[in-house]
Amino acid sequence: MGARPRGDEGMSRVRREGAQAGDRSPAAEPYGGAVTAVAARPPVRGAAIGLLGQTLAVLERQLALYRRVWRGSAFSSLILPVLFLLSMGIGVGGYVGELEGVPYLQWIVPGLLSMSAFEIALVESTYPVMSDFKWTRAYHAIAVTPVGVAGILQGWLLYLILRVVFAVAVFLVVAAAFGGLVSAWAVVTPLVCLVLTVAVAAPVTALAAAVDNDSYFALLFRFAMVPSSLFSGVFFPVERLPAAAQAAARATPLWHAVELNRAATLGVPPAWPVAAHLAYLAVWGVAGCLLAAVVFRRRLYG
């Protein structure tokens, strides 16, 4: 027989409440001329956050995350470079003796310093960036706030710069303790590493944002990161390489940073004018930023 379920009563009660809420703004109200009327409204308060505020807000998130994971990254970014210093600089250096007129330890310190900055900048720009698009979708969360692509990228790069500069500072202290620094110009090496960080992190961030699976990262590590680290003048002068390989080595951002840092810690002039090395790194940085901005914009505001 016809049974009215009890749930029906509840439903009609809720619906009555809904109707009352709707009564505040009558349903039959016409919208004639709505667009012009809206356009005539006084201008509203602008976004209350400028580009600097956006950048710092994004940086704050990264630092909040880093506070939870820094122990895991401390080995690769702080301790491993020091182990390299001990093994290569003191262990191998004991056999090599001098290179280009200086003890091998002093010669290799700026190389290891640059390599460490290079690897942090590169590795940190792979999975974390892909993750914030694909898994945590944090960039999508930020994209619906007033923070735009410029703020996201600047905050992200600033975070990487802080990570790299901190790691470099720790390395410098250890290197100084072992007599690895010759010239007071060593104090400019964090600035060189800052430029290197942007030159490497920006294009890799663009790549990580553009690709949909992480197999590209394995290629990047094998065919860009490892060869760069081995053959860009970190462990031996690029002049030892065949001509074609020399040209390739000099095309890497890492070689330019190594040259600048070696010039600084040894107090000698670099291979090219300082401005030329910096300009080359700047090209990588600017091109990488532009590319990343395009990819981020496409993915977040498509």
Partner: protein
Amino acid sequence: MGYGRGVVGEQPLIYAEGLVKRFGDFVAVDGIDFQVRAGEAFGFLGPNGAGKSSTMRMIGCVSPPSGGVLRILGMDPVRQGAQIRARLGVCPQLDTLDQDLTVRENLITYARYFGIPRREARRRADALLEFVQLADRAGGKVEPLSGGMKRRLTIARALVNEPDIVLLDEPTTGLDPQARHLVWERLFQLKRQGTTLVLTTHYMDEAEQLCDRLVVMDGGRIVAEGSPRTLIETYCPAEVLELRFADGTPEEYADKLAGVGERLDPLPDRLLVYTGDGDAALAEVQRRGLIPSATLVRRATLEDVFLHLTGRTLVE
């Protein structure tokens, strides 16, 4: 908590006319008109692929319209996207919480994207965690929270900038019944405080519970518009008599019941009789000598309207 400053009086907060979104050759939103007024709860109802989420992304200023007019808070979403976004709260369909941060940190870091000072961000985070009943989880990580808790946290996050409009894209999809009711109850509180809500859903009960007014979308177009009540009144008689029979198909019985009620809708498992008076229709069924194995007289719901308007095959 005073969410929703009703700033615009009688003007619509959102105005769309001939709004279109294309992805290549595919037309996701095919020229729709709607307005959302301050303080109302407005719903986009429709099957998957109807264009609801594309519309929401355009309103959220993360997807530029391909054509037509769209004004949000009187501004142009393409030229003034950041200014509009500063005054929107967005609860996306997929969770975008920072799993490795604590519940409270998620709100504070998010508040900072709106330029809210730290101290104020902390104050709002605590107040909002009370509001969504997550205060006891404030210091815990997000990762172990249940789906319903994460959704409530996302809603809290969407309120951190005290938005003029809150956009909710399928706010309860994937939640169990208890969690859904808790989310509805919080959204209802927001509505009572005068917050303007814009939501998409493919749940009829959600639309009936929450929406003052809604549009039904299908294939990128709006096929009906009104309050849940007027939609039901317009497209359905007041009551539905559901009949099940032990033998024979509902279609055979539909022939025998021709003329009973205003419309007959044979489903694979039962026969629906749309009628102004369910008990009278049932009496007529019995007078014709038919003995159903089960009967139910119920009020017509938005689901009946939805199925009538968008067809049964589209709901897959």
